[in-house]
Amino acid sequence: MKLLFGRPAGLTDINQRYCPGCGHGIVHRLIGELLVEMNIREKTIGVAPVGCSVFADEYFNCDMIQVPHGRAPAVATGIKRTRPDCMVFTYQGDGDLAAIGTAEMIHVAARNENITIIFINNAIYGMTGGQLAPTTLPGMRSTTSVKGRDVVTQGYPIKVCELLNALDGPYYLERVAVDIPRNIIKTKKAIKTAFQYQLDNKGFSLIEILSMCPTGWGVTPVQAKKWIAEVMANYYPLGELRNRAKEAK
């Protein structure tokens, strides 16, 4: 019997402490598989954020550093400029990237820094207890918007990919999801493309991944999966927003 699919060598043997049905585990596994498939595990440095994935440094079987809230792109810039031979990625949630890390995110994209950002968008602050995040949908309930997000007082969500697409800097921007196998395969392909562009010294890439947070949303994992396809993907349309490699052709 030959192992066809199993825990990749890019992940450690530690069992992840995420809630049942959390999308983080799926994205962790995809990155772990790619570290092995692309043979880059030995030269990869990951930057873990603050949030549920704060323990990502324990889960990825490559060099990792854990940084203060929102500052992952700034630290990644420093790592990449001192070690340009390394593959550098940051792994950030929406509270980390789109709230306190907005300035870092925009400027790293404007500078076309040669790093990859893996951005997990679950439309809520997961770790702190399901509060309203910058990406919470209009009308969506959270512990700080119990009647649903009111756009008059709480404003509109930030569409990170569209925001960065207004800049000239970024090389590759794509939005994907991890709800069904077809989209999970597309997610893996997008991350692989982004890593390859970085290895080719093309420049900045950001992959936004719509992910489930059943605990924060107060639903079952299966309901959360359906909610991504039925509601979230309508507000955050999936697809490639920017690919300079294709534009050049």
Partner: protein
């Protein structure tokens, strides 16, 4: 013949693999037993029908599923 092995102690019983993911529909959450964390783990009802596509592994966040052939 492909074979799916479910690591029951790792499984958190989220049920993502059991919801319209398996093309032959042989996955379900075990109704009669729990693991040491208190979750109903996923189980295979009829291994002979498995086609080894790996979709269950793909949707598993842990990953608690291994596919052999």
């Amino acid at each position: 013949m492909p074979e799916v092995k479910i690591l029951e102690e790792v499984c958190k019983g989220c049920g993502l693999c059991c919801d319209n993911v398996c093309p032959v529909g042989i996955l379900r959450l075990a109704p009669d037993r729990i693991n040491s964390s208190g979750y109903h783990p996923a189980e295979i009802t009829d291994m002979s029908k498995c086609i080894g596509c790996g979709y269950c592994y793909m949707t598993c966040p842990e990953p608690a599923i291994e596919v052999y052939k």
